[in-house]
């Protein structure tokens, strides 16, 4: 029903854009910015090339190995009933570390619910993420301490917060001053599915209208639970930005170098006062949507297999080894560190204290209202009435 038949009128409006750009190429298409191929080969890009130090590269590797371990442990903890649910990042390590490491301390990051790798780069104790998915709280970190917002579950909502925050930075005079320690920008994370929300598109409009220093960082992991990207957009997502008047770029989200380079450039553009950029990190959700999801109901294992060949960690390891930038000792050290992290997380998670029931009454308002005091005290008295009997 939906297939456009041939028609002479078409030319009046130019060619069919969806046909020109095609639906998502599984390889990301010719516009994909890449610096490290899936085979671990360093390639160069006319616009976004960067020199990386060996230390930086080892750092990326270590980051990715550790956040993958974090993710694997959390998934296991959920299976053991220690977490209510877990949103896996498996396969998206490069997108998150590349972006997370490009951010400077003075920048501010707005995550969704899956940015554990970015949180890691912002110095969050991973136990805080576990606490949230365990159901202890809605996020126990101080956004101002890490310049990292709370996880936001209503998809897309945070893109507007990011834009407003960036507008605040403009008013604080920390945009376009030329001082690298002062100029700041915002990163707004969201997914391919979220790109369909009105809020996200309104964020584009506000950011464009006010030229706000915000990088819209979309991890296109090809799926929104069971819906493929084609349901949200018939042309490559990064091109969405063009219609709003700011640039978009598609980067290989499984390539930590390219993601870093593109994010850094976009952030610099924002800090310089040149406004928003849309970065589409083209990647793949290797796991389920969350631990409650069953992707075998809606996608082919073939696809998953083909994306395994593009693993973000493997290609860095190959590159590091091939160029003699790591030795077995380093790799073993990182592996040990990962084991250690796993241990810490397992023990730490189980030891997370349950909140007290009265915690539910705290922080509804800056100061407790009389109404709530009465409810809290009533509930305390009520609970106390059982103390003897139970």
């Amino acid at each position: 029903m939906n297939a456009p038949p041939d028609s002479p009128d078409r030319t009046a409006f130019g060619p069919d854009l969806a046909e020109v750009f095609g639906p998502g190429h599984s390889d990301g298409g010719p516009e994909l910015v890449q610096l490290l191929t899936p085979e671990g080969e360093r390639v160069h890009h006319p616009e976004f090339d960067l020199d990386f130090s060996a230390e930086q590269l080892r750092g990326f590797y270590r980051d990715m190995v550790l956040v993958r371990r974090l993710d694997v442990e959390a998934t296991a903890l959920q299976r053991h009933g220690e977490l209510g649910i877990w949103a896996q990042l498996l396969g998206q390590e490069a997108a998150q570390i590349g972006c997370g490491r490009a951010v400077r301390p003075q920048d501010f990051v707005f995550p969704t619910y899956r940015e554990h790798g970015v949180a890691w780069c912002r110095g969050l104790d991973p136990l805080k993420m576990l606490g949230l998915f365990r159901g202890c709280d809605h996020g126990d970190w101080d956004p101002a301490e890490h310049n990292f917002g709370l996880y936001t579950i209503v998809i897309g909502a945070q893109t507007l917060h990011a834009t407003g925050y960036a507008m605040g930075m403009q008013r604080d005079g920390v945009v376009g001053t030329g001082d690298p320690d002062r100029d700041a920008a915002v990163v707004a994370h969201f997914g391919d599915g979220a790109s369909s929300q009105g809020d996200v598109n309104e964020a584009f409009i506000f950011a464009a209208s006010y030229n706000a220093p915000v990088v819209f960082f979309c991890q296109n992991n090809q799926w929104a639970i069971s819906e493929p990207i084609e349901r949200q957009s018939r042309i490559p997502l990064y091109q969405r930005a063009l219609g709003f008047g700011f640039p978009g770029v598609r980067v290989d989200g499984n390539d930590v170098l390219a993601t870093y380079a593109v994010t850094q450039a976009a952030l610099q553009r924002a800090r310089d006062g040149q406004g928003p950029t849309f970065v589409e990190a083209y990647t793949y959700r290797m796991g389920a949507h969350t631990t409650t999801d069953d992707p075998t109901r809606y996608r082919l294992s073939d696809d998953v297999e083909s994306w395994k060949l593009k693993d973000p960690i493997a290609r860095v390891e190959v590159y590091l080894r091939r160029n003699g930038l790591v030795d077995d000792a380093f790799l073993a050290e990182v592996a040990a560190e990962a084991d250690e992290l796993g241990h810490t997380l397992r023990e730490g998670c189980k030891a997370l204290p349950d909140p007290k029931p009265s915690a539910m009454f705290a922080h509804v308002y800056a100061e407790e209202t009389d109404e709530l005091r009465v409810q809290r005290e009533g509930n305390e008295a009520y609970l106390a009435s059982f103390e003897g009997s139970h």
């Binding site: 619910y113 579950i153 209503v154 998809i155 009105g198 639970i225």
Partner: protein, 337 residues
Amino acid sequence: MATTATTQTQGQTQKITLAKGLNLGLRKAMEDDPKVLLMGEDVGKLGGVFRITDGLQKDFGEDRVIDSPLAESGIVGTAVGMAMRGYRPVVEIQFDGFVYPAYDQIVCQVAKIHYRSKGRVPMPIVIRIPFGGGIGAVEHHSESPEAQFAHTPGLKVVACSNPVDGYWMIQQAIACDDPVIFLEPKRQYHADKAELDESTTPEPLFTSRIVRPGTDLTLLAYGPTVKTAMRAAEAAAGEGRSVEVIDLRTLSPLDMGPVLDSVRRTGRAVVVHEAHVNLGLGSELSARITEECFYSLEAPVLRVGGFDTPYPASRIEEDFLPDLDRVLDAVDRSFEF
């Protein structure tokens, strides 16, 4: 377009869960009327995150079971257009907490178009919302938004509480020419089974039902709290108190007849819902009961509900939600008057 589907569910008696009842009811409605469409996030191949639409896209095709882009306002707004074209869209909102992006379309368009058009444009849309807590979820997955809809004229709001009602009520809601907000207690989806006999005739949709007769106090509940209320009534019976339980089923319009009859007999009423007490359905029920039964009341209508805090982290949600003991406590308080 695929409009035929072969299923042999007619005339059988089977034990079903609420999830199954809804699934069968949707299937029946789609078989009966080719204008019935399902729309929502992940309702197709996945069958929805709760599998309520399981198998329906396979049998009725992608044009009748439509996976939507991730935009609730878009889903409801396009459903409005479909309804204008003569279809009967059934929208699934994935979780209660995600209905709000569609709130504008629901209260300004869905609710008002029939009125605006002087009855010329009917709006037979059903908006299905899995609601309520108790499933150990993260934020926004455990809300009870019924009052936010029931306050809006033009909408009808119902809540099912058991598998058999699920089966019948969803079909009745789809057959209704008005927009219906259809609340499904997600905690109950797979909890209990009940016998479905399709040869029986269901009660009309917008009626309340006495689910346990009693003489001393009236307990009003709907959706997930009906079970709690039943257990409380049982426990109270052990203490020699005869508690009548009414499953309200319809929240807008309210079916006050059975409620007022009951309270006139018992003289006492307690309302139980998971929604925040402040401006929840309990406040309206209290106001109306007091207006109508002023001289019959032995005690004020008492309300047991979620506290007036945002829904808390799941580790303490059972302290937030009304449970057996809090209902019994309210029953006790009622008798203290």
